[in-house]
Amino acid sequence: MRDIYLLAFLGLFLLFGLRKPFLFTLVYAYIDIVAPQRLSYFLLNSIPISLIVFAGALGGLLVDRGKKDSRFSARQLCMLVLLAYAGYTTITADMPVEALEKWGWVWKALVFAIFLPLTLRTRLRIEALALTLVLSLAALVINGGLKTILSGGGYGALVILVEDNSGLYEGSIISTVAIAVIPLIWWLARHGTIFPSADPKWRPALKVFALSLSFACILIPVGTQARTGLICLAVLYVLSLRFSRYKSLHIGGAALLALAAIPFLPSSFSQRMGTIQNYQQDESASTRLAVWGWTWNYVQDHPGGGGFEAYRQNKVRYELPTTDANGFATGMEVGEREVIDAGRAYHSSYFEMLGEQGFFGLLLWLIIHVGGVWRMEVLRRRYKDSAGDDERWIAPLAQALQNGQLVYLTGSLFVGIAFQPFVYMLVAMQIGLDTYLTRRRKSASFVPIAAQVKRATGRPAAA
């Protein structure tokens, strides 16, 4: 049943792509997020659907008459260099077999992120990408949100659509991404034109959907019990206060809401979130600190990084305070328990980049991502006072993308998602917005010159 309608939807999407080839690009983004082939039991999972759709998207760019408007940005160049460098570290990797496996999906994510901004030449295309990302993610988020309400979820127990712990279907990753996308949901609800927010007939439905979807996004960290998600939510909340006119009212309201929500939270969630404070007794947190220490020592000898999956060679040793039979520290001199672990993952994108791609890779990664925060701030400031209909949407979009990026950079502190394809699509959207606006400014300053020629010669300027 599920296979049939997923196939039908995909078939229709591809048919639309034949009419407007840019839609192939959107369909690729959809496939990358939802991974319908993973949800399928027959047919779809045997077709190289990503490859077919990417070929369509590339063909769409080649036949696109307006592609001369496309610009290549510094951050795209950084991604290109990172791609080449990651290719090099894969060849020379400490763990060649495992590295090759990760390279298999990383290069696709980077190539698509480099390609995507070239297609974003119009405002509507940028909006269409934002809507596709949000609605594709909605398939996972609505599912996870509803299951959390009905069952309460659990750490590693919440099954979103399919029992698969990879990609966006992993608890900590979906928690971070779900929170990062909330600002984009609200931008679409306030400034969208595909589902027109300016139309009073659409506005109430859009508001209700945005509110419900945001609530579902907030429920994902509750359902997956990923502590990272809670931290991301707190960061997003602080960011939202930045431009709030009634800060104290917002803080008070949120505190009341949080207090009111406590009785509804599953007790296992409250217990797990409590371990944020008592990290000394938490094995997962202690492992992180030990692995980060190992990575730092490792890059002293290997400053170029050890290639993908280099962490698999680590052996970490750390000590945990012993607790009594009930799991509580009794305060007595009960000593410490030594724990020895091997092959522990980085649990941080920063250390993931440092260990795998060395100092150079980390630097490129920081330029790509922190550079996004900076560029969006530049755009937000430049357009914040724009009141015209054709410019009012720009500053809020830059702000939404900036907030999403900051949430990602926060989540990245605790989760190894340095190459998460969804985030690279957000980065691509930032680059697309940036180059689109540069082009607009250039063409706006060009018009008077054309008019001058017309005035001087009495004839229209040659095309």
Binding site: R2, F16, K20, L140, K201, D389, D390
Partner: protein
């Protein structure tokens, strides 16, 4: 049941979004853009007897896409 609901809702909305995009010439060519304010006015003005020419979404031009 929940799986079907979340998949059908999200995919249905994606389908609707794509259908609406097919009818927007400004997807490929910004100069064909219908001014947002004009579009909002046109769609909102149910009581206005004579809608402006921009009221109907323009069809894709032949040869585009």
């Amino acid at each position: 049941m929940i799986d079907h609901f979340s998949l059908l809702l999200s995919h249905g909305l994606l389908l609707l979004a794509f259908v609406r995009l097919l009818r927007r010439p400004d997807l490929d060519d910004e100069s064909a853009q219908v001014q947002p304010a004009a579009r909002a006015r046109a769609t909102a003005a149910v009581s206005t007897p004579a809608p402006e020419p921009v009221a109907a979404p323009a069809r894709a031009r032949p040869g585009k896409g």
